[in-house]
Structure formats: structure tokens, C-alpha cells
């Protein structure tokens, strides 16, 4: 298990970034793709916006942009049809693979 995965298991989404370059590294890597120094971590705000969405069976899913332009695929929890640009709050877990889900705010 990597640090990123360990933290997901604790319910924390850690953002990987380089202090030197002030750049986000996504998906997370131990080294910066520009300066090749060791990267650092900071906690996500867990706030994001819906970029695109679809639905499988009864569950919405979509492409969400969170902090610093990081984009992830995950489930969207919404009682009504989601909208592009809608604000969502992320929760995460890890069970053999990462799981990201997004609750539409003021749902």
C-alpha cells in the first residue's frame, strides 16, 4: 500500500504536489515530473464541481474536478439529475482499489 492508498483507507484524499515547482502531481507519484525532487502531500478540501456525468443502473457517475484542477471519476450521489458545474463534496475509501464518491451539495 502506498501513502496515498493508506490515507484513502482513512477517508482522507491527499493531494500530491511539488514545493519547488508549486505544481500538482496527479495521479500521485513520489517524484515531481519537472524537478524530480520528492513530492509533498496536503489534504484535499473535498470540494469539487461536476464536469460531466452519466448513469449506470440507478447510480450516477461522472468526471469531477476537485482542488487544483485534479480530475477523478466517481459515483455521484444525487436525488435529482445532476448538472454540469454543480458543487459536490467528496468522500473516499480504499478496498483493493480507490473509491471516490460525490454528494451533491444542498441535495
Amino acid at each position: 500500500m502506498t501513502f496515498f492508498e493508506d490515507q484513502l483507507k482513512e477517508g482522507v484524499f491527499q493531494i500530491c504536489y511539488c514545493k519547488n515547482c508549486n505544481d500538482t502531481i496527479w495521479p500521485p507519484k513520489e517524484i515531481c515530473h519537472k524537478c524530480h525532487n520528492r513530492t509533498d502531500w496536503k489534504k484535499s478540501t473535498n470540494l469539487g464541481k461536476i464536469m460531466e456525468f452519466s448513469k449506470r443502473e440507478s447510480t450516477y457517475f461522472g468526471l469531477i474536478e476537485i482542488d487544483d484542477g485534479i480530475r477523478v471519476l466517481g459515483d455521484i450521489l444525487s436525488s435529482s439529475i445532476p448538472e454540469i458545474g454543480q458543487s459536490v463534496r467528496m468522500s473516499v475509501s480504499f478496498n483493493s482499489k480507490p473509491h471516490y464518491s460525490f454528494l451533491v451539495e444542498n441535495n
Partner: protein
């Protein structure tokens, strides 16, 4: 730089059955060798295998099975575009003078590890390609007013073409309404909009221009190559675009000294229906807004210019073999050997093969 030509081709039938990769490789390579004139195993000095299968040392195993002792032999993996990547590697070996004649064989079994890219943590648990396929489809509808029917035409057209392809995994016709009424995988993807992983192998022999005439009466020259990898993770893509294809096409056209409008026939990477619409736009054959109409016209006029062998949707998608089968189709088209699928008077053909939601694209231009 030596010029490089295709001198031989061979394929196996694609199928949904689980098959042994070593046997499949031998079958297509043997068919390929039988297609050339004056074959002598000593003339082949390179053997490359493209696959996502975990089997080891396949380049050497295939060489030994065929009684070849090549100078250069190894495997190549680049997910869905492994096949064209292997051909482009062979091109580089021949054009540089390191080899004179290279056998390139691609293979996959139906259940292969190349369908999911675990490394891409940005996909979360939604790692299967249907999720990014749904995102691309939904955004295409949203941005370019593409209709469900236009998407269904891509699949109906490619299934129709595959009926005349003896190597396709399915020869069943599918009407537009059958596609539209096929099982919904997500709100934006029906099962008949998806290419299916399958077993199969295809092989191609490349030779320097100097040697090509010995082995083939109709060698087909590779005149343009363009490759671009923009990232590895799907979520780096800009929705509505396949940037890697646009850049690779530009490189290939420049090398071949042609414009998009000169292309007579093309095999494009229709992993999902929407990918064909996006590919023909990024290749400069039409615009995103008109791509649905473009494909509808082809379908209505029975013009087989795009994906004459049935594409990935119609023929099946054995990952490591796909790019090679696409190249074989364009080769046969330019040789006038495509039987019922033949485009009349085809002079310039194009192959478009891509990987992992279009994060990498390979394009080749062939000329007769």
C-alpha cells in the same frame, strides 16, 4: 533512410473463445509467410510480437517455432495500440539499416490484462473503459448535438462491413434500430456501441524497398508515420477532443506530404461509436459538428471509406493484434485485394490506432 514496404500479411479468425497465444501467433505468422514469394527463413532478421498478454519471451518463442534466428527479437506492449507501435518499431529498424526484413505478429486472448489500467488512480473504482466511453459520448452529445441515431449508425455501418470480413468475430448484421434498442450499459452507451475484447492474431512482413520486390508483386510503402502520447491517465484529457490523434495526424501528413482530403480509405479506432466520430474529426476528414452527418452519408451511400473491415466494433478487438489487422486491411485495399469490401481506385490509405481513452495515438499513411 531506407524506404519500408509491406510485403506479406496473415491473420487468424477473431473469436470470443479463450485461445492459446503461442498457437495463435504461429497460425497468423504461418499464413503471413505463405503470402510472400521466394520465402527463405534466413531472410527474416527481425521478429517483434505485440501483446498485452503476460506470457514471456514470445518474440523468441515465435522465432524458434518458425525456424528463424533473427538479429532483433522482442515484445512490445502499449495497450490497444501495441500493434501499430510494433509496426513502427519494425519500420525504424529497417529504415535505419539495422534490419532488412521484419516479421511483426500481434496477439491477444479474450480475457487479457490490457483492458484495465490499474495504474490510473484517477479512475477510482470505475476502471473499466465503459466509464470513460460514457463521458466521451455524453460530452459529444452535449457539445456537438450528436444524436443517439448518429451514434447507432457508426455501429450499424461497421457491423455491416464486418459481414464481408472473413476474420471478424461476428458476421451478424445489426440494423440502426437493433443498435438503438440493444442493452443499455450506461445511459450513454449501448452494448452494440462497444468494441469487444476477443482472441485473435495478425502478422505482417516488412522489408526494405530494395528487397521488397523479391517477396511481393505489389509491395505497399509506408509513407507517413505520426505518434503522440499526451498522458497516461484518462482524466488529463480535454472532453470532446482527442489531442494525441490531432497531433499524430499532423505529423503523419507532413511526413507523407499529403492532406487529409487525399485519403481514399481509413481504418480508425472505434473502441466505442463516439470514438469513430471523434477520430474522423481529429484526422481532418470532417468537423465534430458534422461527423454524425458524415457517417450517415457513408452508410446511406454504402461508401466503405471508413472502417471497411468493420472496425473494432464489427471485427472485434484483440488488443495486440488490432493495429496490425487495421494495417493489413489498408494494405489489401491498396493492392485491390479486398473483394466485396474493395474501395475502387484506392491510392492512399490511413491507419489510426489509439490507447487508453486516446491518451496515445499512432497513425500511418500507406501508398500503393
Amino acid at each position: 533512410m531506407n524506404k519500408v514496404a509491406i510485403v506479406g500479411t496473415g491473420q487468424t479468425k477473431f473469436s470470443k473463445d479463450e485461445r492459446d497465444v503461442e498457437k495463435l501467433l504461429f497460425e497468423s505468422a504461418s499464413n503471413c509467410i505463405q503470402s510472400v514469394n521466394n520465402y527463405d527463413s534466413n531472410d527474416i532478421d527481425g521478429v517483434l510480437v505485440s501483446t498485452n498478454n503476460n506470457s514471456k519471451y514470445l518474440g523468441a518463442i515465435l522465432s524458434e517455432t518458425l525456424g528463424i534466428r533473427p538479429k532483433i527479437s522482442h515484445s512490445i506492449e502499449h495497450l490497444c495500440s501495441s500493434g501499430t507501435n510494433a509496426i513502427i518499431s519494425a519500420y525504424a529498424y529497417i529504415s535505419s539499416g539495422l534490419s532488412d526484413m521484419v516479421l511483426v505478429s500481434g496477439v491477444e486472448s479474450a480475457t487479457n490484462p490490457g483492458q484495465v489500467l490499474e495504474w490510473d488512480r484517477s479512475r477510482g473504482n470505475l476502471e473499466h473503459p465503459i466509464y470513460w466511453g460514457s463521458m466521451l459520448t455524453k460530452s459529444h452529445k452535449r457539445k456537438f448535438q450528436t444524436t443517439e441515431e448518429e451514434l447507432a449508425i457508426v455501429s450499424a455501418k461497421n457491423h455491416k462491413h464486418a459481414m464481408d470480413n472473413p476474420f471478424a468475430y461476428s458476421n451478424e448484421p445489426r440494423t440502426i434500430s437493433e443498435v438503438m434498442n440493444s442493452k443499455q450499459i450506461t445511459d450513454d452507451l449501448r452494448i452494440l456501441d462497444c468494441s469487444r475484447s476477443c482472441s485473435g492474431s495478425s502478422s505482417i512482413l516488412l522489408a526494405s524497398e530494395e528487397k521488397a520486390k523479391i517477396f511481393s508483386d505489389q509491395p505497399i510503402e509506408i509513407t507517413g508515420i505520426g505518434q503522440k502520447t499526451t498522458s497516461a491517465s484518462f482524466t488529463k484529457n480535454i472532453l470532446g477532443e482527442i489531442e494525441s490523434t490531432r497531433i499524430a495526424a499532423d505529423l503523419a501528413y507532413k511526413m507523407a506530404k499529403i492532406e487529409a482530403k487525399q485519403i481514399d480509405v481509413a481504418e480508425v479506432h472505434d473502441a466505442f461509436s463516439v470514438c469513430e466520430l471523434m477520430a474522423i474529426s481529429e484526422l481532418g476528414l470532417t468537423s465534430n459538428e458534422k461527423s454524425g452527418e458524415f457517417v450517415r452519408d457513408l452508410f446511406n451511400t454504402e461508401n466503405r471509406m471508413i472502417n471497411p473491415r468493420g472496425g473494432l466494433i464489427g471485427a472485434g478487438h484483440p488488443l495486440g493484434a488490432t493495429g496490425i489487422s487495421q494495417t493489413i486491411e489498408i494494405t489489401n485495399q491498396l493492392q485491390g485485394k479486398s473483394d466485396k469490401r474493395q474501395i475502387s481506385n484506392a491510392k492512399i490509405g490511413l491507419i489510426h490506432n489509439m490507447s487508453a481513452a486516446g491518451t496515445s495515438s499512432s497513425i500511418m499513411v500507406l501508398k500503393n
